[in-house]
Symmetry: C2
Subunit: 259 residues, 2 copies
Amino acid sequence: MIWCRFSVGGDTSFGVVEGERVRRADGVPWGAHAIGSATLPLAAVKLELPVVPNTFFCVGVNYRDHVERMAAKRGTVPSFPPRPDIGYRANNALIAHGENIVKPRDAGEQFQYEGELVAVFGKRCRNVSKEDALACVFGWTIGNDVSERTWQANDRTLWRAKNSDTFKPMGPWIVTDADLDAMTTTIRLNGAVAETFKTNNMIFDAPTYISEVSRYCTIEPGDVMWMGTDGVPSNMKPGDVCEIEISGIGVLRNRVVAA
Amino acid sequence: MIWCRFSVGGDTSFGVVEGERVRRADGVPWGAHAIGSATLPLAAVKLELPVVPNTFFCVGVNYRDHVERMAAKRGTVPSFPPRPDIGYRANNALIAHGENIVKPRDAGEQFQYEGELVAVFGKRCRNVSKEDALACVFGWTIGNDVSERTWQANDRTLWRAKNSDTFKPMGPWIVTDADLDAMTTTIRLNGAVAETFKTNNMIFDAPTYISEVSRYCTIEPGDVMWMGTDGVPSNMKPGDVCEIEISGIGVLRNRVVAA
């Protein structure tokens, strides 16, 4: 099942995507809801953020190849995380599929995408085992963890580097039935493939992260956990169109514009 | 004016505090609202979080004396932040005035309070000057940035150290008229004064932080910015009662219990 959030005629609601059409739903996908009988063409609505989280969890370093190649690029020794320490991103940075990534005036050349699998939670979870962790996930969407590398290297925190307005595209929708092991993430810049990797080839997989986070933090329905990226990202410049495709989910497409 | 959020008989709403009584309000303090005519005794209601933010901004290091004394304690050279880099905390950690801080089973002895001034925003702001920054603040409340120092020193991020459930008491209410320069923060552990400092004696003051953050990030009504702490905090253990008082705002009181 594919759930989206969309606007039409000034109203925003959740909806169920069926091919090229969407069926409006009252309520929330992971709670009480009623799915309507009428359908609208997807092309006639604006896709919104599939969810606005209460807490926005984000994994920082979670693919072996990414760690090794980024270290080689910097001329440093690769350092693998010894345990699944979660990080955070900020809601102000979220934008929907199709909206513009705005490159700030003072951002440098190393303005880069990071294609990520995103877990959207449907149940409150605290102290869940690895075995029970995926039962708390309502579905999966796609995130682009846009990053300004000079700020990332020099600021004391990641606030500007990763949380400036529009730096967190998420969407296009949430897919409830997903085979993580079968997924491939493909990142395209202006139509050309820039990176491709096995989505589930993580250092700590989703059940491990969810179980560990839930030992200390309650994860609420509607919260999201971004799972990190692989490879060595390229620079994006105004005018570029960045697409993150995860097989089985869809394509998150956003254009970069200058501030 | 003092705004709170409270529950009574299963309903939660905002309210205006008048001495020992509270007047229910429909709507939100920083938007359309109607203040009712009936009042309830404060003692008969449960104070809730004064606000649940969309983005939870938090200043990490913002008092000169705190930096110098923490460095001396660690035997390191004090390092002052060269610029106002903001950080974040997570909503799952928030608890209201009067609720219990739960010390996790595996937390160590260095389980400490940090008393902080909190700005609550009432207007959307982006690219505001220092001069206009305080006009975006609806009012002020108090935060306790509870921290587990072993995790803070050893984990890759601050997730467990500062964002475990119940680690972020905030309240008791929001005061709209405040003279920051006249404020004193006093922290009491079981009634004894543990620390006292001039609240506004910051390295980067609230207008500086708000203006700088707003260059990159849109701050929304209801967002909060915690402004950091001074001094060298003491350890708290189960059974302790921690009070953060800021003159002109009130007292945030929470008991520590064992998980």
